[in-house]
């Protein structure tokens, strides 16, 4: 754990720079680091993608299984998002069951996909009330250099876009495979952008140094129509003013549209 004194020195330096609109690595406050997206990196998974956001690195794998639907939604498939902060990604990650950070990460990514209705889950019903497809989205953090949420959401979206399902028919209530594949039916393409507040400044795409000194973060996920589908405030013991929230929302409209082009074409 970095000592309090070091963090305080860092905070002073970063805040001073931000007062002049500058960041330690020379970026502007709303600039993302270089984004590299590679799809299909795990051939045995139905879908996958690796995202590098500066030195942050995430792989998302999508597996398709089968199961019974929820009793109150008998005609829709099931979406399950899980995140693992595997310990090789950071000295602060430990082996074992997911802690609160991993749970929050998974649930924020999940809400973006679910609330934007990105996947057409109704097309994943095989037999009403009895048999549906289950989409497992596993977020695997391989190197943590800040902004895990945005990178994970991008990787999840890229992996879903990359996902192929086998064709099938149903015989006597059982699935029989046919030759060929179809893409996962997609209806929307949610993008998350996360603002960090440091002093009285908002910045996007924090590096690890910036996260250590931030007061709080605010994630806004938008769908392709520029509507908001999920928001999460977190990341520390700070707060946002009403005005900061409006400002962040405005920036998010443009920024999510811009990033969507990068992710979906990938």
């Amino acid at each position: 754990m970095t000592s309090t004194i070091v963090v305080n020195v860092k905070k002073k330096r970063i805040t001073e720079l931000l007062a002049g609109g500058k960041r330690t690595d020379g970026r502007g406050v709303n600039d993302y680091r270089e984004i590299q997206i590679e799809s299909g990196v795990i051939e045995r998974a139905e879908g996958s993608a690796r995202v590098r956001l500066g030195k942050t690195e995430i792989i998302v794998g999508v597996k398709i299984g089968t199961g019974t639907p929820f009793p109150d939604t008998p005609d829709t498939g099931v979406l399950t998002v899980n995140a693992e902060l595997v310990p090789l990604a950071s000295p602060s990650f430990e082996p074992g069951p997911p802690g609160e950070d991993a749970v929050e990460l998974a649930r924020v990514v999940d809400r973006g996909i679910r609330e934007s209705k990105a996947i057409d889950l109704e097309k994943l019903c095989v037999e009403s009330g009895k048999l549906v497809f289950v989409v497992f989205v596993d977020v695997y953090v391989l190197n943590h250099d800040g902004n895990l949420i945005d990178a994970s959401a991008m990787a999840a979206l890229a992996a879903l876009v990359n996902t192929k399902m086998f064709k099938y028919t149903v015989e006597e209530g059982e699935i029989v495979k046919k030759p060929g594949y179809t893409p996962l039916p997609m209806l929307d393409y949610p993008i998350a952008v996360t603002f960090a507040k440091i002093g009285n400044k908002l910045i996007l795409d924090t590096g690890l140094d910036e996260e250590q000194v931030m007061d709080a973060r605010l994630t806004i996920t938008m769908n392709k129509d520029g509507n908001i589908c999920a928001i999460q405030k977190g990341g520390g013991s700070g707060y946002f003013t009403r005005e900061e929230i409006s400002e962040a929302t405005k920036i998010a409209v443009e920024k999510t549209a811009e990033l969507r082009k990068v992710v979906v074409k990938s």
Binding site: F70, P71, E104, D110, G226, N227, G234, G236
Partner: protein
Amino acid sequence: MKANKKKPKKEGEKMTSKKSEKLIDKKGIRLDGRKVDELRPVKMEVGVLPNADGSAYLEQGRNKILVGVYGPKEAHPRHIAQQDRAVIQCRYHMAPFSVDERKSPAPSRRDIELSKVIREALEPAVFLEYYPRTSIQVYIEILQADGGTRCAGITTAALALADAGIPMRDLVVACAAGKAGGKIALDLMDTEDKVGEADVPVAFMPNLNAVTLLQMDGNLSVDEFNTAVDMAIGGCKKLYEIQKEALKSKYVSEGVKEE
């Protein structure tokens, strides 16, 4: 109802449906008779638990929330202690009988997330730096749930922290607004939350004009979202008055009776 069906886990995610339109009638009246910008009936009481260092009880509609606070006391296990400030350990926990289908007492992923965001909603209000190396424990028990429990939990927890005599910059008060039946509405109850289009829980420090919790799920235009946030903050301000009354009614009467 079917016997013993093995269901995949589901953690309170929203499932919108066509029934949403029935939530608000043509006159703008909701299923429970409220107007769109009306809070549910609220009752707050401070100092209800003899053993806890601070406590509070709240009813908001059919929600029944009990919060106990212990501390500041030596942080345990030690590795969670911070050299320069207190840590808040917060547990949001639902009684097995608080919801329609019995809830297992083991913490769900939803419980883990809510414990975290509630803690982060309370931290900005507490002078944590006054008590280095200590822990303040906030135990939130949902005895009965009817939508909006995370907000109600925060409102109650802030009262319990104040009751424990922990120095605070401001109270924290929380309220959700959302979209149901096509309209932006305040303080969604369970049915509105489940069937409705969106929910926006907000926690607020009234004197510092600071939003300490903000979440959203559903589908809102930016304008709708801004309307909802403003409506939620409006709700917070009303709840804040009730919070102050609850504190007064304990500490004033106590002053008379006992001190």
